[in-house]
Symmetry: C2
Subunit: 453 residues, 2 copies
């Protein structure tokens, strides 16, 4: 295998990489709205085929988005398999009016490509596909077997990925997993993350009357916003501590090794505050405390609240109904089902048993062991391509890593091209072209090192 | 004056009345959005002229909607003047999707005419205009002088009506005022109301970061919805009692006469609960307590709350900002300015001094003396036309009655054609054509009785 040729191929074929990424961005695939998923899955399949990867759409049952499976068998090393996990669905684009260009434009400005999914996760996916393509085109082979699992429900909680994993357990068998994304910090250091937080996402709603009424009636007819507000207020205190009984019961302390790793991690507090326009963090957390919170603290977040008149000016209405969306981030050892039961019992005991609850997500957190050899293979690869890297105990975000670790019994490591301020989930999401190229090269290196060791 | 001819004219000219009302409904005039106000004022002016009423647009200053002034001088009785106060602006139409027809359709289905403003207040206005037209066409005169004051900011708190009243004090001079609306209950009894509650309407908002962020950051970046929720929660308890210091300080007890009147008022508790789809009233109020609350209890109502992702499904965002709209209904003797100062000081003392506050409205409550002769003139007229009527101490709603009572030194009495379930301020607002006709006749009778006594 000639590594130099492979890396040069990446440099020489940036144009194709970018145009394939544009094709993916321009196909909306918002899982929260079930918009364009089938079409996007087929596009991914086609791009894989064009790159020399055998690909197919796998299906679970009607109504569930298909999963794209890709595979290349290695002639020289058929006994080792690396699996790339990614997703083709994206977050909703709202608030629409805050985008400078159309949300699915794929527009390039200088070193940046814009659009929903440009980083999360279509940009990441393209680096994996193009790494394999580069190997195949320059060597006619890959250093080990490669598999792709690209799902369509990551942004709404990967509800069916575990069922897919179980159904296709043999097909997906592998020795290690490269996770769907990885951050690159403001000093261009890739952050190699070994874990993901879990997530419990619920919607609480209350209907008090058949419609919004004249607010003079508020003196006798109940306001659902008040009820909801009181229910939500009972969930946590002003400093973010969750007040639900036994919420933290199974949370484990960080190990000494983990604490050391967190301490050694850089943290761009000033840059972060500037980027987000904030002065102080929650409960005045600083430095080490803020870093530890990101890695190891559960949250209770209001993701959305709406009731009554929400346009400009004044309208004297008594809302007929109200709803709130809440996401709870979970840490390792917290069981989403158990936490949900605790939430239900909290609401009931506080007198809010009448609120309607819709459960959108329930995912457990996961952590890969720092001592796993795959961790150092990834880190060495990153250091060679970027000149530096950061090892992190866990991302603050969520993904179905727990399901992968449990079903495939493989270490999962997160590394990628997503700049920390790439505005994923926000208007004007972008990806940096230099980071996409570097990450593609880094994936080549990882394949090589993983195959050799 | 031949009263029978006049009332027959009303019956014979219903078609013209309805088509003029449709013209008014079809012209959007949403004051909260400054939409179509000038156009609507001109339409009102033209309809008045067509009916034989001298009319003109009065202006205060740039940016303030014009006020339509109309006048007919009586040849036989030039020393007594009745003033009709109405408004040509309407509430916003949102939520748009809940309308069966277009919000400004003016569509007729059986005995009902639909559209924003069909009852509140274009339907009411047309009854006053057509009563005067009926007199003029059948008698060539009116029984006393008639004046019209039709403003364009009632639905956003009548900010400038007091200035208009002061500027045109002489022009508007009168001996009594017929208020802009009156309810008709489910047994077709007009409710003659002698008072209006006051209103303080504010918007509180909080911005924590420059945009909505990925909710994994909620562990360190503050959520503005939590702050707002805590501030709002501090304003009242679950039973509706307002917790702001000295909020009730100047509130006066109801007099014995008022309590008797309230007790004797019918109250369609079952019908109301059915219409609005509610089981229990606030704090389990029933019968007399509910009636007293409507007349004499201040409220703190969430008219709107919005933050973060409000569409379908799940989106894991940390909102960048949040806002809440709150209306406080005031009762007689509460000074909106004083109450606003109390609200500000409450928020400051509770640590919410950083929230941004926008004040939309501030209006005091008002009550006309039950013993004023004008009250019985109106009641006798109503009894003659409807066969029955209900006298009420005060409406639960708000209007600038205080300003009229103070500046024009005249008794104000509320009577009209608005059915209690006419969905004013809500989707599918309508007016009943039979009530519009009856109220037009009732206005004729009022003019006659008032002129004679």
């Amino acid at each position: 295998m000639n590594m130099n040729h492979t890396l040069r191929y990446v440099d020489d074929h940036t144009k194709g990489l970018v145009s394939d990424l544009q094709v993916l961005i321009r196909q909306p695939s918002v899982s929260a709205k079930n918009e364009g998923l089938e079409k996007c899955a087929k596009l991914v399949c086609n791009i894989m085929k064009k790159s020399g990867i055998k690909s197919e759409l796998l299906r679970l049952k009607k109504g569930v988005p298909p999963l794209v499976f890709g595979e290349v068998k290695s002639k020289q090393n058929p006994n080792k398999t690396l699996l790339f996990y990614n997703h083709y669905d994206v977050q909703p684009v709202e608030p629409f009016e805050l985008w400078d260009d159309k949300p699915f434009s794929g527009k390039i400005k200088g070193n940046k490509i814009f659009g929903r999914g440009s980083s999360d996760d279509k940009g990441e996916l393209i680096t994996r596909i193009k790494a394999v393509e580069s190997y195949l085109r320059t060597n006619g082979d890959v250093p080990c077997n490669v598999k792709f699992v690209v799902e369509g429900e990551e942004e709404i909680g990967s509800e069916h990925v575990e069922l897919y994993l179980k159904k296709y357990r043999k097909k997906f068998a592998c020795d290690a997993v490269i996770w769907e994304f990885g951050y690159v910090d403001s000093k261009n250091r890739p952050i190699i993350s070994l874990g993901m937080k879990g997530l419990l996402y619920v919607e609480l709603s209350k209907k008090e009357s058949t419609r919004d009424l004249h607010s003079s009636l508020a003196v006798i007819i109940k306001n659902p916003a008040w009820r909801l507000l009181e229910a939500v207020k009972s969930l946590r205190n002003a400093d973010g501590k969750i007040l639900i009984k036994d919420w933290y019961k199974e949370v484990q302390s960080l190990t000494k090794k983990e604490l050391q790793l967190i301490e050694s991690e850089p943290f761009d507090e000033i840059g972060m505050k500037k980027e987000y326009g904030v002065k102080n963090f929650v409960a005045n957390k600083k430095g080490k405390a803020a870093k530890q919170a990101l890695v190891a603290e559960p949250t209770c977040n209001i993701a959305g609240f709406v009731s009554g008149y929400t346009e400009q000016g004044a309208k004297t209405v008594l809302p007929g109904s109200a709803f709130v969306k809440i996401d709870f981030r979970l840490v390792p050892n917290m069981d989403p089902k158990k936490q949900l039961a605790r939430l239900r019992s909290h609401l009931k005991s506080k007198g809010f048993g009448d609120l309607k609850m819709t459960v959108y997500h329930g995912e457990a957190a996961s952590k890969t062991n720092i001592s796993d050899p795959f961790v150092s293979q990834v880190q060495e690869s990153a250091n060679e391509i970027y000149g530096k890297s950061i090892l992190s105990v866990s991302s603050a975000g969520t993904g179905p890593m727990y399901a992968f670790a449990q079903v495939l019994k493989s270490p999962c490591v997160s590394i990628g091209c997503t700049h920390v301020y790439a505005r994923i989930h926000s208007p004007n999401e972008f990806a940096r072209l230099d980071l996409i190229k570097k990450t593609t090269k880094c994936m080549c290196r990882i394949l090589e090192k993983f195959a050799k060791d």
